[in-house]
């Protein structure tokens, strides 16, 4: 597990709106980190800061030199004046034809190769975006709500796919998702974000955490239960939870999993 | 009296009629093109306070048409009855023989027209309050003799150019040619904003066989004119019909006309033609 990307003490303000507060986040290879949190919690903002797309108001970013990233933004609009087939769009990611074809097969959109990007349906667009990210054989996959608008079967299949690729290629994954019930099964670290990090750790321990229940309610916890216990994949990482939502004392840090340093709230 | 004229050649024409008490303002500096001239507040004030405003007409100074429409001080020269105009037939190109061909507005290039303008201006000046008519008459008389002499001189000088055949870049020398009996073979384009077609240029090459040079105006950049002259196989002679290069001083109109004649003679004496 190599460290790929690390953010320390990141703060982000838009005007007088504090969006991110003192966030520490560290991404490692072969590790899936999932950001969850209510709408407007700052998940996308944090992802963009990590990728260098948004300058944080304060904080530091460290990044493995020559890190190859596969990114899937939350939304994509392509100008209609640009003629662009799915195939050409994927090639722009810089992957070989072989890798592209393989990725297309995995995400189930081979048939769309010659379609125009602008004519794709919502779910098709998501699949194509994921294909581009995967085809690059990245060291780090960054996915902002990857299965948004994808049909039911696709959701399950794509999450499984991401998990599988993580194991095969050993790439790190940072993912934003609202599909608690689907995502929890395949993730190593869950970070529950709401401006600041509410709680984080292994999914099963996070879901038991009061801050989590606070944010998502018992219904969500229940839905998670249904899925995670159906799941046949075994986790070998221990699932301790570090939380400072109510400024509790820190447990010692045992792994490279993200850790939030405590600072007084601004 | 307060006078305003649109362009430099008109200033040259009226200067001799003015005395030390009179003021004269030229709107268009030699460097500005009438196409993108934008009036300044001082220009408007000068126009409104002027006793007499001279301009050729909308064909040349379109930007003046509107502000002068209501000003009684304005004198539109191309409306003067005493002017002589070049034959339309001579002007029009074989393939451009349409009814409403524009008149060549460079009317000051004919000394007779210069006299007519001077007469008209003198008349208007005399009618102004506070102007001594006799003095103006005297100045006009001097001017008439000078211009008559100039005419004679130019006729003599240009006599040897009668056999000369030349082409012009812009259709600007109708008055000049008419007065001095010169033979212009063809014009490349009728107006500066109209570019010639390819066929026209090709046909010009045919006629260029009989021509001895190409006359064009001196712009700050002559590259395309030079290229055309090369294409036609003619020496290029740059003329200055607007008097841009005439130094300040007395008798500028005569200098303008003499320069023009001298430049044309240079064409005849061009090494390529000797």
């Amino acid at each position: 597990m190599d460290k790929l990307l690390e953010a320390t003490a990141v703060n982000l303000r838009f005007g007088d709106k504090q969006v991110l507060q003192n966030i520490d986040l560290c991404l490692s290879s072969a590790n899936i980190t999932t950001l969850i949190g209510p709408n407007g919690a700052g998940k996308t903002s944090l992802v963009r800061v990590m990728l260098g797309l948004q300058k944080p108001s304060s904080g530091n970013l460290w990044r493995l030199p020559k890190l190859r990233i596969g990114y899937m933004p939350q939304k994509l609009t392509i100008d209609s004046s640009l003629p662009l087939t799915v195939k050409r769009f994927l090639e722009l990611g810089g992957a070989s034809a072989n890798d592209i074809n393989r990725a297309l097969a995995l995400t189930g959109v081979e048939k769309l190769k010659t379609s125009a990007m602008q004519n794709l349906s919502g779910g098709e667009t998501q699949r194509v975006l994921l294909t581009r990210a995967l085809a690059r054989k990245p060291h780090l996959l960054v996915l902002d709500e990857p299965v948004q608008g994808v049909d039911v079967n696709g959701q399950v299949a794509l999450y499984d796919l991401i998990n599988q690729i993580r194991h095969e290629q050993g790439c790190g994954v940072l993912m934003v998702s609202h599909d608690l019930h689907l995502v929890m099964a395949n993730t190593d670290d869950v970070i529950c974000l709401n401006q600041h990090v509410c709680c984080h750790g292994h999914p099963e321990s996070v879901t038991a955490h009061p801050a989590y229940l606070d944010l998502f309610g018992p219904k969500a916890a229940q839905s998670l239960a249904v899925y995670s216990h159906n799941h046949d994949h075994k986790h070998d990482l221990h699932g301790d939870v570090i939380c400072d939502h109510d400024h509790a004392a820190h447990k010692p840090r045992l792994s490279l999993r993200p850790v939030q340093k405590e600072k007084p709230h601004a | 009296a307060k006078l305003v004229v649109s362009i430099e050649p008109l200033a040259m024409l009226v200067e001799p009629l003015l005395g030390p008490d009179d003021s004269l303002r030229v709107l268009l500096k030699p460097n500005t093109s009438p196409h993108h001239y934008s009036l300044k507040a001082s220009d408007m004030r000068a126009l409104q306070q002027a006793d007499l405003i001279l301009w050729v007409g909308p064909e040349l100074e379109q930007f003046l048409q509107k502000p002068l429409a209501t000003l009684p001080a304005a004198l539109q020269l191309d409306q003067l009855a005493q002017l002589s105009w070049p034959d339309q037939a001579e002007l029009s190109e074989p393939h451009h023989s349409h009814a409403h061909t524009a008149r060549d507005p460079h009317l000051w290039l004919n000394p007779d027209n210069a006299l007519a303008v001077a007469n008209a201006v003198a008349q208007r000046l005399q009618a102004l309050a506070g102007v001594d008519g006799a003095v103006v008459q005297a100045r006009l008389a001097v001017m008439q003799t000078r211009i008559a002499a100039l005419s004679v001189e130019l006729e003599r000088d240009l006599g040897e150019l009668r056999e000369l055949q030349f082409m012009v870049y812009h259709q600007a020398y109708g008055h000049w040619n008419q007065r001095f009996g010169l033979t212009q073979l063809s014009a490349v384009s009728l107006t500066p904003e109209q570019k010639p077609g390819a066929r026209h240029i090709y046909q010009l090459k045919e006629r260029a066989k009989d021509a001895q040079c190409l006359l064009a105006e001196a712009f700050y950049d002559n590259q395309s004119t030079q290229q055309l002259a090369k294409e036609l196989g003619l020496p290029l002679v740059l003329l200055d019909p607007l008097g841009t290069n005439v130094a300040p001083g007395e008798h500028r109109y005569e200098t303008l006309m003499r320069n023009l004649a001298a430049d044309m003679k240079a064409c005849l004496n061009h090494p390529a033609n000797s």
């Binding site: 209609s80 004046s81 | 196409h35 993108h36 004030r45 064909e59 349409h98 409403h100």
Partner: protein
Amino acid sequence: MPDFMVNAWLAGAAVAIVAGPLGSFAVWRRMAYFGDTLAHSALLGVVFGLVLDININIAVTLGCLILAVALVLLQQTRLLATDTLLGILSHSTLALGLVCIGLFGNTRVDLLAYLFGDLLTATPMDVITIALVAAVVLALVIGFWRSLISITVHEELARVEGVKVEAVRMLLMLAMALVIAIAMKVVGVLLITALLIIPAAAARRITHTPEHMAGVASLLGLVAVSSGLITSFFWDTPAGPSVVLSASTLFALTLLKPQR
């Protein structure tokens, strides 16, 4: 203050006020070059006026309105952005005008006359005409304001909510074309276009709603006209360009405002 300055200010002010909302639409709908396009096509209007022997001003105005309709039709193909369509129309009509001018009539047509116009030569009659057209257009724009903004934000949402999208869009284009065509001969297209887009662009950075932006744009336009004319009067600079430069200065000032 001499009469001509008063007339110039009145004409400029009328254009500036109606240009606030219209210019905002130009900025939002990426029609910044609509004015230029109309000016280029004016040449064609002049030629047709000469050929068909109708009043040139009417011919030019008609030409502008036809161009606006052509733009609306081309926009329906959806594959090309508005600025591209404007570029195509502008250059095609100008080229056609230049070719026609050679084929018919040798009357000298001064292309640049439409570009530069002259604020200082505005007559009382001009002022009345511009003010009238501006008032009518302003009333129309205010009357249809919600529909106009709706189709600008999201055309399909507007259509589902019952807005007659095609009619409203056509209204906007024709209103804009009319104002430009009428004001073109008086103050020149350079000045109209500048008054349309520069104040609106300056207002963008300091406002948060469309109404606010349109209003502030009108205001900034008024400031630009006034200060430009004052500059022109006291430093004796050409009037039109001075107004444009005043507007540019205002825009540059808003750039200083730090962005959120």
